[in-house]
């Protein structure tokens, strides 16, 4: 082998090691997709989430959110899986032009791929009928704006216990499998 190809192989394997380190370091981080048409609110929600140890992708519309998730019906070449990191939670404003948070919620719950992702709705209007409708459609929680640290902490705690519950379920089903196989 020439010296060049050995050097390039070592560089590539170091790069892969770095990638593995960074990906495994991120495994416990919750990745939140935040949707809000207000620039001010996007900045605030992004900081609220980051200070609560979440990774954040902030977009300005429901349409962009669907694009990010790959739900917009656009054909994509396979193999660019690293481009859109797995989303663990979606938090969206209710009142947005073109597509409301409620319409976005419905689209997500209609998708077999994404319906399990918890969706939280934010709204400046504390209207009972609106809250009920969102919860009925499958929203996990409803936050009345302005969003505070305590609101984000509540969500973060929910995500942490959801993680623990999921792992317990996994352990439980593995245990059962062991008993069943002869």
């Amino acid at each position: 082998m020439s010296r060049n190809s050995v050097a390039s192989m070592r560089w590539r394997s170091e790069m892969i090691d770095d990638m593995i380190l960074s990906l495994s370091g991120d495994q416990d981080d919750v990745h939140v997709l935040a949707v809000d048409d207000s620039l001010v609110d996007r900045k605030v929600i992004e900081r609220l989430l980051k200070i609560s140890s979440c990774k954040v992708t902030a977009v300005d519309s429901g349409i962009r959110a669907l694009e990010f998730l790959g739900l917009d019906g656009e054909k994509r070449t396979s193999g660019d899986g690293l481009d859109s990191l797995k989303v663990d939670l979606i938090i969206t404003d209710y009142c947005m032009p073109e597509m409301t948070g409620y319409e976005l919620l419905k689209k997500i719950k209609q998708s077999s791929t994404f319906r399990e992702i918890p969706v939280v709705i934010m709204s400046s209007e504390n209207i009972m009928a609106r809250i009920d409708r969102c919860l009925e459609e499958g929203a996990e929680d409803f936050i009345v704006k302005p969003v505070k640290l305590s609101d984000v902490k509540r969500i973060r705690d929910y995500m942490a216990t959801r993680d623990i519950r999921a792992r317990k379920d996994e352990e439980g089903s593995n245990f059962n499998k062991r008993e069943v196989t002869p």
Partner: protein
Amino acid sequence: MEVGQMQRTWVEYIKSLFREGFLDSQFSQLQLLQDESNPDFVVEVVTLFFQDSERLLNDLTRVLEFPNVDFKKVDAHVHQLKGSSSSIGAQRVKNSCIRFRMFCEERNIDGCLKCLQQLKEEYYTVKNRLEALIRLEQQIVAAGGSIPIEELTF
């Protein structure tokens, strides 16, 4: 002026802003989000608020100049301004927006024009106050001090 004096001035000034209703507890929330890793967070959000608000006030002025006022558009703009002012804790601006929306609902053009005037006054007043607050903060930091957020107890 030495740092301690500047810090005391800052505390008195921001307390007065809360007392007079220019700011509410949401502004304190923003301050909690500022730390060594994000030392300019409040200034950045407030700056965005200024840019956003001035754009909306211009849009409102234009829409209300038309002979056939599109009240839906007026309401949409005011709703946006209500949202952003609420998010940064600019209480008086937010309250002006709430009153404004009532006149929109009534399709009361005179009421809307008066509200727009009031809204502009409230906005420019809080803008002046916040800019003064930020200048004080910059002076404290430049003199090697820190902003005494812990002094604010409510």
